[in-house]
């Protein structure tokens, strides 16, 4: 019997309409961007509205370091950007005081214990020239404060040494001028364009997350859909009219269409926001967001990656009988998705390392790893071609095997089959 596309269309239509008409779809579609927007606004607000300033007392046993650490210095003009921003935000949230000469360490520690004081910075002489600094606090997890104190102590020591050499502090300040690194991306053929952390880090990150989220959310929806049909017994009536392969394909395509619609809505919202240009975002972005090649590959990896994984999820759904069982068995599948995501930072940093190249050619990882590589460097054409071939080939093989497992599993009841049994289903057809 040949594949009947009218049947597949009927299944696609049902899956799509049933899901899109649900209230939960509308809520998710609206809520997700709101949630993301809220998180972004919220994190900014949190920085603005610092609830409590930390109070740290400096105990100076050197006779010179204390005032140098306390002294607030205007950041040098040349040092701008993120460091100065961070320094300022920490300084706003931290008070540094010099301890009274008669204050005992015991009393100060008591105060920390009673939470009347957040911390003590103990400065002691170390040999003739050097400085020993110790930070004592209940909470040692606040890396921001520790970073600031570290900077201050080093700065103080530097000042002290320069003065010891007889240098004017003003000259010393000049010597310390900083240069911000400009970034220019060089592409194939020597073309250059302005680059940024955004284009080389945040963008690939977002693209990978896009694929990851789609597969996780909608792949699992496919698994649950299969399970529901199986458990509600409706599947028998459907299979009396439709081949299992047609039902599986219809389900995958229908649910993929729902996901694409949702992504499309978000994309339009994002584009609208960008055009409305509320915070002068346009001025901050550099060059075209996605090059045509990236666009084509994004769509390709997106579709085939989804196909690949959802076939497996459909097969998992068909072999299980309960939700819990399915949850348990989807984990190993999902692991293959999580690994490339976990290795995202090293992948972006070394996009041409042999292990990254190898990973990007394994169909399980291609959609995420190769997409990361493509958006960071110019991947050799043969590698892109190889990834396309392996992903298409892998998807065909997996979909074929999944269809066979699905066909037997969907009508099984009772005990879950063992792995060797499932392999036998694939072989026997």
């Amino acid at each position: 019997m040949r594949t009947n596309w009218i049947n597949i269309y009927a299944v696609v239509r049902r899956e799509f309409l049933e899901r899109v008409r649900k209230k939960s779809f509308l809520i998710m579609t609206i809520l997700t961007p709101l949630l993301f927007g809220g998180l972004m606004v919220g994190s900014v607000l949190l920085q603005v509205v610092q609830t409590k300033k930390s109070h740290v007392v400096v105990v100076d046993k050197t006779g010179w370091a204390g005032p140098l650490v306390i002294e607030t210095r205007k950041p040098a003009k040349t040092s701008g950007g993120l460091d100065a921003e961070a320094e300022k935000s920490v300084r706003d949230s931290l008070t540094l005081d010099l301890a009274k000469p008669d204050a005992s360490m015991g009393a100060l520690k008591q105060a920390i214990g009673d939470q009347k004081l957040d911390g003590v910075l103990l400065l002691e002489p170390d040999g003739k020239e050097d400085l020993k600094a110790t930070y004592m606090a209940q909470n040692l997890a606040n890396a921001q404060i520790q970073g600031l104190l570290q900077g201050r102590v080093n700065e103080a020591l530097l000042q002290h040494r320069l003065q010891g050499m007889g240098l004017d502090p003003a000259i010393a300040q000049k010597l310390k001028g900083r240069v911000e690194l400009g970034m220019v991306k060089v592409e194939k053929g020597g073309k250059t364009r302005e680059g940024s952390v955004f284009s080389d880090f945040i963008k690939p990150f977002l693209l990978a997350m896009l694929i990851y989220m789609m597969i996780i959310m909608y792949g699992v929806a496919i698994m649950n859909g299969v399970l529901e049909e199986k458990n509600s017994k409706v599947v028998e009536v459907i299979l009396s009219a439709v081949r299992p392969f047609e039902l599986m394909m219809g389900k995958i395509i229908g649910i993929a269409a729902v996901g694409l619609l949702q992504y499309g809505i978000w994309f339009l919202l994002g584009a609208g926001l960008y055009l409305a240009n509320p915070m002068n975002l346009q001025a901050q972005s550099t060059g075209p967001w996605l090059r045509p090649m990236e666009m084509v590959l994004l769509v390709f990896y997106f579709l085939f990656g989804f196909m690949f994984y959802s076939s497996i999820y459909a097969a998992v759904g068909a072999t299980c009988t309960t939700q819990q069982e399915a949850q348990q068995w989807q984990m190993p599948v999902t692991m293959f998705l999580i690994v490339p995501i976990m290795l995202m930072v090293p992948t972006i940093q070394n996009p041409n390392a042999p292990w990254v190249v190898a990973m990007s050619l394994i169909p399980l990882c291609t959609p995420i790893t190769m997409l990361l590589r493509v958006s960071v460097v110019d991947v050799p054409l043969w590698q892109i071609a190889a990834s396309v071939v392996s992903l298409v080939g892998g998807t065909v093989v997996v979909a074929w095997a999944a269809a066979r497992v699905y066909r037997v599993g969907i009508l099984m009841t009772g005990k879950r089959p063992s792995i060797p049994e499932v392999i036998r289903w694939v072989r026997a057809g």
Binding site: M1, N4, I6, N7, A10, V11, R13, R14, L17, E18, S232, K233, V234, V235, E236, V237, I238, L239, S240, A241, V242, L411
Partner: protein
């Protein structure tokens, strides 16, 4: 032309031979009953007919064509394990299944509306399936099987779980379908319905056909030799006391049925009962019901096997 032709069809699950090589012809028109005890292989046979399982061996022909090349619209199916999409609206559900059976969207809409009207469920068209009572859901399932007017409808236990009113309604709907040219093949345990509906039957046990033919003829063959007695004080009766007269004896506290041997007649049974001191309230030489025949054949098979 036969509606369905099974030729040495067999199916095995693991170690269990669900259907042994089985050959059977089901004529077109009317209602054909597939009878048999639980686990006899009826549902497996029906599923193979619908293409849900593929037979391990043998051929299934439908209306003269091999099973694989039969158009989906030709067949209708009501499975034993009932299930619908609970969150779908009734009208949409029926249209979806109509489309799967090869109807165009417009035809499917028309069939759904007509079907709901016939079963008095028109006002439920826009409701979700899980808002319907169980009986109503069963009606919807019957519609799924019959709404597209299939040439052959296979109904696995269509009457199970129905109240008497709905049994009557289902029978009416089946008769209408037959009037429109559908051949109905149904399996059931309810022998009264078999007597009312089926023109011929096949009795299946342990994956094989053990009795097959025209209902009236089967009843004549078995029925002329039946005796039914109602009595009191019969607690002490034993089957062995009638072994010389009856091929088979079914004893119940206040009732007994006898299938007479060829050389025996009803009077001898009556005499024997009186000799045994039973107080008889009713004595009837009856045509055996399908129920009796079913029990006799199946238990006879078991004895034979043991």
């Amino acid at each position: 032309m036969n509606a369905i032709e099974y030729e040495n069809v067999a199916k095995t699950f693991g170690d269990v031979q669900a259907v042994r090589p089985l050959s059977l012809s089901i004529p077109s028109g009317g209602v054909f009953g597939l009878l048999g005890p639980n686990g006899a292989g009826k549902s497996t046979l029906m599923r193979m007919t619908m293409g849900i399982y593929l037979p391990d061996a043998g051929q299934i022909g439908i209306l003269g064509q091999p099973r694989g090349s039969v158009a989906s619209a030709t067949l209708g199916y009501l499975p034993e394990e009932r299930g619908l999409y609970m969150k779908m609206k009734v009208g949409e559900l029926l249209r979806f299944f109509g489309c799967l059976r090869g109807l165009s969207t417009a035809e499917a809409g028309r069939c759904a509306t007509d079907g709901l009207k016939r079963l008095g469920l028109s006002q439920w068209e826009g409701h979700k399936v899980d808002e319907l009572s169980k009986g109503m859901q069963q009606k919807i399932q019957l519609l799924v099987a019959l709404q597209h007017r299939p040439k052959v409808a296979i109904l696995d236990e269509p009457f199970s779980g129905l109240d008497p009113v709905n049994v009557e309604l289902f029978m009416e709907v089946l008769e209408e379908a037959i009037g429109q040219g559908t051949t109905v093949i149904l399996s059931t345990h309810q022998m009264e319905q078999v007597e009312k509906l089926c023109h011929s039957i096949a009795l299946i046990d342990k994956g094989q056909v053990v009795l097959h033919g025209d209902v009236a003829q089967i009843r004549r063959e078995y029925g002329a030799r039946g005796v039914q007695v109602q009595f009191s004080d019969g607690a002490a009766l034993q089957e062995s006391q009638f072994a010389d007269l009856a091929e088979q004896t079914l004893l119940m506290p206040n009732e007994a049925r006898f299938f007479l041997k060829a050389d025996a007649h009803a009077g001898k049974i009556l005499k024997r009962l009186l000799e045994l001191g039973v107080k008889i309230s009713k004595f009837e030489e009856a045509q055996a019901s399908m129920h009796d025949i079913f029990v006799k054949v199946v238990t006879g098979e078991e004895r034979h096997a043991n």
